[in-house]
């Protein structure tokens, strides 16, 4: 083997001496995130079957008792259902609440320190993988990133610096989603379920509970939250309060180490929760009440 090479020639697309499957991970991320984006967009455009609280929201088998099919379930991609909460304010609004809701958790995930790594690699190829050369991807070119590399110092990537504000909104959403999960167990009477009891555990209740737990783990393992808890301090032992913040920071750091895992599991579970409720509302699948 005597192939003359110029040592600086490392920037061509895919230029690398790596002989492992470096392209597998970015492709999987591309597929996974792409699938969720396509599904969420389809679900939002469909504009119905995201809740099961009213008889008119669901498809009921002919001749069946409608009151046995209603459920206190609301899809997380449509929560809070603002048009339902404020009908007069949103009287002009005729589309799915998903269009009002998704931009907020979407912004939290788009500016998330984990997802930044994921999509910079998979969608922008800056870089596609470690020690792999790459020219700007079509998406990068579309956004105008073809000139000198500027990282996160210029518009629009400049806004990545405001991740903590999207965290504040995501934390607020957690309160709302926790209320939805509570309703999944204790909200059966006011929707007029057949037996008149207020408490039931359906498979859907557990699915929604799993959703709020996983989303909570993802939200509160956030790097910005880690900083705000105590990461910004230089002296942890300067007072009782800073010592307590240090203890909280240590515990949160454990969660933070698994931020990527929580990011994926929670994303998949959000999609699954919506799909479960959608299939039940459409009459394709039947929710089972455990007790």
């Amino acid at each position: 083997m005597a192939k003359t090479v110029v040592i600086q020639d490392i920037n061509a697309t895919g230029a690398t001496e790596r002989n492992d499957g470096w392209w597998v991970e970015p492709l999987m991320v591309l597929g996974g995130l792409g699938l969720f984006i396509v599904y969420a967009t389809w679900a939002a455009i469909q504009g119905e079957f995201y809740a099961m609280e009213k008889v008119e929201e669901i498809i009921i088998p002919a001749g069946a008792n409608a009151a046995e099919f209603v459920r206190p379930y609301l899809s997380p991609i449509c929560s809070p259902d603002l048009p339902r909460w404020f009908p007069e304010l949103f009287s002009w609004y005729q589309w799915s609440p998903a269009f009002l809701i998704l931009p907020f958790p979407g912004a939290f995930r788009a500016t998330c320190y984990y997802y930044r790594k994921a999509y910079y690699r998979s969608f922008f190829t800056t870089p596609a993988a470690c020690s792999v050369g790459g020219q700007p991807s079509p998406l990068s070119k579309l956004l105008g990133f073809t000139k000198k590399y500027t990282g996160e110092t210029q518009f629009p990537m400049y806004f990545q610096n405001l991740h903590r504000f999207t965290f504040y909104i995501a934390a607020l959403f957690m309160v709302i989603l926790a209320y939805d999960a509570y309703q999944g167990f204790f909200g059966w009477e006011h929707i007029g379920y057949a037996d008149g009891k207020n408490f039931h555990v359906g498979v859907g209740s557990l699915v929604i509970l799993g959703n709020v737990v996983l989303l909570g783990l993802y939200t509160f393992s956030c790097h910005s939250w880690r900083h705000l808890l105590a990461g910004k301090l230089d002296c942890f032992s300067c007072s009782d309060f800073t010592s307590k913040r240090f203890d909280a920071w240590k515990r949160q750091s454990f969660l933070n180490e698994h931020h990527m895992l929580f990011a994926w599991v929670s994303l998949i579970w959000v999609g699954f929760t919506d799909l479960y409720i959608r299939l039940c509302a459409m009459g394709i699948w039947q929710d089972r009440i455990l007790f």
């Binding site: 083997m1 005597a2 192939k3 003359t4 090479v5 110029v6 040592i7 600086q8 490392i10 920037n11 690398t16 001496e17 790596r18 002989n19 492992d20 320190y113 930044r116 790594k117 910079y120 690699r121 800056t126 870089p127 470690c130 020690s131 792999v132 050369g133 790459g134 000198k148 590399y149 500027t150 990282g151 996160e152 110092t153 990537m157 610096n161 405001l162 991740h163 903590r164 790097h223 910005s224 880690r226 900083h227 990461g231 910004k232 230089d234 002296c235 942890f236 032992s237 300067c238 010592s243 240090f246 933070n256 180490e257």
Partner: protein
């Protein structure tokens, strides 16, 4: 039973010549090396030096993954030659060994990493809050976080793999992950008096150019969580000082301070 044999493709090349304008170039030469139990790639390079190519240039010192001298790329991945075990590499195909590609070639596997020392020298050193160090009282909790950063052996594998330096050649504006770690260790130190390190990190070290793709963390032979524990915390400190309007208001009315 016959010993296993590994085929190496080792980069042999010469430095660029500024006077004639000739770029650094070279070629991959093939060598056969018998594989011994417990062997690392640096052993193989020494075998090649001893048997086939006494003029093969390879920098090394401790052979214990602590001096950071034998940094190179093995099958395209930045690695310490002395830490990469042969039994962890597939022997059914050639093992490609090349120099760090982010820095200028000196010869064969040796590169000129002096740019890193210039970056290091430019960082304002530790400035103690109190001159009389006998009075210092530092608690373990306050330094446990920065202890991780002190494991750095300055092998510059993180600098090599960082695409900002490697592919975009922004050495003019970005200090690289190694020095984000150093800046973090200084800024987080409870006894450091300087309050301009965050500004330095943003404006001189160029932390905004990092897009946290975590390659530095992946290659660190000391397993320092460079991105999660140094770069992202420093990015958040930059946000506190330069981007967060709420923090600006709080500082304006005296409810928050820089350090």
């Amino acid at each position: 039973m016959a010993k296993a044999e590994a085929t190496f493709h080792v980069f042999r090349g010469e430095a660029a010549d500024a006077e004639s304008g000739v770029e650094a170039s070279g070629e991959y030469q093939e060598y056969k090396v018998p594989v011994e139990e417990g062997m690392v790639v640096l052993d193989a390079m020494h075998y090649i030096q001893g048997e086939d190519a006494p003029d093969l240039a390879v920098r090394w010192n401790c052979k214990a993954a602590k001096c950071g001298s034998c940094s190179a790329e093995i099958n395209g991945k930045p690695r310490l030659l002395c830490k990469q075990r042969m039994d962890a590499l597939p022997l059914d195909e050639p093992i490609v060994v090349s120099p760090l590609k982010t820095f200028p070639l000196v010869k064969d596997l040796v590169t000129d990493v002096s740019w890193n020392y210039k970056m290091n020298a430019a960082i304002p050193p530790f400035q103690p809050k109190e001159e009389d160090t006998d009075k210092w009282e530092v608690f373990e909790n306050d330094v446990v976080r920065t202890q991780e950063f002190r494991k750095c052996i300055e092998c510059f594998l993180c600098q090599d793999v960082c695409h900002v330096l490697r592919n975009h050649d922004r050495k003019d504006a970005f200090a690289g992950p190694r020095f984000m770690v150093r800046l973090a260790s200084l800024d987080m130190h409870p006894m450091d008096a300087r309050n301009d390190r965050v500004k330095y990190t943003k404006e001189e070290a160029g932390i905004g150019l990092c897009n946290i793709t975590k390659c530095c963390t992946e290659v660190c032979p000391e397993d320092i969580k460079i991105t999660d524990n140094a770069i992202i915390p420093m990015k958040e400190r930059v946000v506190d000082e330069f981007y967060d309007p709420v923090m600006k208001v709080l500082r304006g009315i005296g409810l928050a301070h820089k350090k």
